[in-house]
């Protein structure tokens, strides 16, 4: 319990895991603590998975710098970590002549931010590229460096690579307070005990304000959750070819229509500022709002083809931009504060946080080096994290070879998405083990198809129980309090006669 670490990262979302991955390259013990049962269950679990090009953030802001720098790192990141990512390019679409000036504004802004590869195209050209686009399209800004990914895969891949290189992960472990010696942080208190460390990194997302306040840093900084709702469409019923944004408004980038790396189309998000950091409910007004917004871009959408809905919260902060002359108060906080030692503080990492994540990780390393930290690269650092086989993507011939190699890959558990027992076992025994149904679902895509788990649910619960050596009564959907089963059938008193 009194083991001493060099770096503790609070939060295993994509930011925390990306930072851990960068830290794990150097000598030093790294611990990542996460209050939920798995990585990426906060903001990372529920967003549009867009790797933004960088024309949207305010020029001169840290957000803009991190976005553009991060975006450029994604090809190498994918080559090393092996997740689903495509640099597909994205479009900001103007409907009607009156929206065209907004595209010019974005083009100018993008150039100021150093975004390469932006081109204006005509309404006619946009209609050719996206068959179902609103016929009143007047033009579009094409940003060729934009991309789409599976953000959860990115999170897992970064976390696993960190674990492969020695980082420890503790789940169901919630930060409670700092352990201070004067003005120096020497560790943290959690619901599972105390941990000592030379440095603590705040990657707590929606709760980054709560964490930094415990260290007496930036008492005026506040995170307000911004909720966005989404619809997911059945892959078989609808095909959108591109990533489509509307012209932005004060509320944000707007309600988009986009294809995803899995071939589904999703629409959303809206932007509703709420108070409750745990409120990820979808709502009727919210769902109506994104439906209406999406129709502006693609009027032919059919609501009957929606197979899932979800909502995510962005951590909107009020951090002031440090660049002189730039009047912006929702910028990223990425700093080593002056009044507290042993602390790397991040706050307000909302969109474009995913795109920026590798740049943010590098920024943290630079800050540590500037602060005098002698970071020495591990001799045996392994940058490559291999992807695991996905039966559903394989040809008949390759499947045959895979099953010959390991018969567990012959047993299909999710019929709709063709996910096998071999893949499930691989995730349960992975560097960051998947121990809940949702953890396996996020990693393998099982249960996301037509039957929404109807066939696989009972089988996955049985497999998890067997592999983890526990009773099926202990298997949960998403961590404790979400168990499936309450007791054995043959345990209770009979019903009374009526």
């Amino acid at each position: 319990m009194q083991k001493k670490y060099d770096f503790i990262v609070i939060g295993a979302g994509v930011i925390g895991c990306m930072i851990a991955r960068w830290l794990s390259r150097y000598e030093g013990r790294v611990l990542v603590i996460e209050k939920q049962a798995d990585v990426g269950m906060g903001t990372t679990a529920a967003n549009t998975s867009i790797v933004h090009a960088g024309y949207d953030p305010v020029p001169g802001s840290l957000k803009a710098r991190m976005n553009v720098k991060g975006n450029a790192m994604w090809d190498q990141l994918k080559a090393e970590l092996n997740f689903a990512y495509v640099r597909s390019g994205d479009y900001v679409v103007a409907i009607g002549e009156e929206e065209l000036p907004a595209l010019d504004t974005l083009m100018v802004q993008g150039k100021k931010n150093g975004v390469p590869g932006m081109i204006m195209i005509s309404g006619e050209e946009m209609r050719a590229r996206e068959k179902n686009i609103n016929p009143n399209v007047s033009g579009a800004l094409w940003a060729s460096t934009g991309g789409i990914c599976d953000c959860f895969q990115v999170n897992v891949a970064a976390g696993e690579n960190a674990a492969m290189n020695g980082a420890e992960f503790k789940f169901d472990t919630a930060f409670e307070d700092f352990i201070m010696e004067g003005d120096r942080i020497i560790g943290i208190k959690t619901n599972r005990g105390d941990f000592l460390s030379r440095w603590v990194v705040n990657a707590a997302g929606l709760y980054s304000d709560v964490v930094m306040h415990k260290a007496g840093v930036r008492p005026e900084f506040k995170i307000r959750p911004r909720k966005g709702e989404y619809f997911v469409f059945d892959r078989a019923d609808i095909q959108i070819d591109n990533v489509l944004f509307p012209v932005p408004s004060d509320a944000g980038k707007g309600i988009m229509v986009t294809n995803t790396v899995h071939g589904n189309t999703i629409i959303g998000p809206n932007a509703q500022i709420i108070d409750d950091k745990e409120d990820t409910t979808t709502t009727i007004p919210g769902m109506d709002e994104i439906w209406e917004g999406a129709q502006k871009l693609i009027p032919t959408l059919d609501r009957r083809h929606v197979i899932a809905t979800f909502a995510g919260l962005r951590a909107m902060g009020n951090g002031p931009c440090k660049t002189p002359g730039v009047n912006y108060n929702k910028d990223y906080i990425i700093e080593i504060p002056e009044n507290v030692r042993g602390f790397v503080n991040l706050g307000g990492i909302e969109s474009p946080g995913l795109a920026a994540s590798p740049a943010i990780a590098e920024e943290v390393i630079d800050l540590l080096k500037d602060a005098g930290e002698d970071l020495r690269e591990k001799k045996d650092w392994e940058p490559i994290r291999q992807a695991r086989p996905r039966f559903r993507d394989m040809s008949h011939k390759d499947r045959q070879l895979l099953v010959e190699m390991d018969p567990h890959f012959g047993r299909v558990i999710c019929r709709c998405e063709n996910v096998t027992e071999g893949e499930i076992l691989a995730e349960i025994h992975a560097p960051i083990p998947a121990v809940t149904y949702d953890a396996i679902k996020r990693r393998t895509w099982l249960g996301t198809g037509r039957c929404q788990g109807g066939f696989d649910m009972t089988r996955v619960v049985a497999i998890l129980a067997r592999e983890l050596g526990v009773s099926p009564l202990e298997i949960t959907k998403r961590g404790h309090n979400s168990e499936y089963l309450v007791r054995e059938t043959k345990e209770s008193e009979a019903a009374d006669d009526n």
């Binding site: 059938t489 043959k490 006669d497």
Partner: protein, 125 residues
């Protein structure tokens, strides 16, 4: 005179029956469209019967539970007692379909029998 009303379950039609009774005696059944319906109405008014299906614990079988049922109907008011008797039983695999699990359950004259074969499984696979 008393009138009781039931939905008939003798066949899927579901005729609405009205049974006129004088004390414990059935005077008339109305609303049926076949003989079975009339019979059902009489029985339901005097002494409703039900067939019961449930499961018993089985040891050493392919599954932990064996489905069973009453081979014949038992008085509706004794369902809880029948269920309690079933709950108290544990059988060993292998079991054959229609094998008697509880003969003459709680003295009703009706056996509780196995609904299916339950093969024995030795190596816990």
């Amino acid at each position: 005179m008393e009138e009781k009303s039931f939905i008939c379950t003798a066949c899927p039609m579901g005729c609405k029956l009205i049974v006129r009774m004088e004390g414990d005696e059935v005077i008339k059944v109305l609303g049926h469209r076949c003989k079975r319906g009339e019979t059902y109405g009489r029985q339901e008014a005097i002494a409703p019967q039900r067939m019961i299906a449930s499961t018993v614990r089985v040891v050493g079988g392919l599954h932990p539970l064996l489905p069973v049922y009453t081979k014949g109907s038992i008085p509706k008011r004794r369902i809880s007692d029948v269920l309690a008797a079933i709950r108290a039983v544990e059988v060993n695999a292998p079991v054959k379909a229609t094998q008697v699990i509880i003969p003459n359950v709680i003295g009703t004259g009706v056996d509780v029998i196995a609904s299916r074969d339950m093969p024995e499984v030795r190596d816990g696979n």
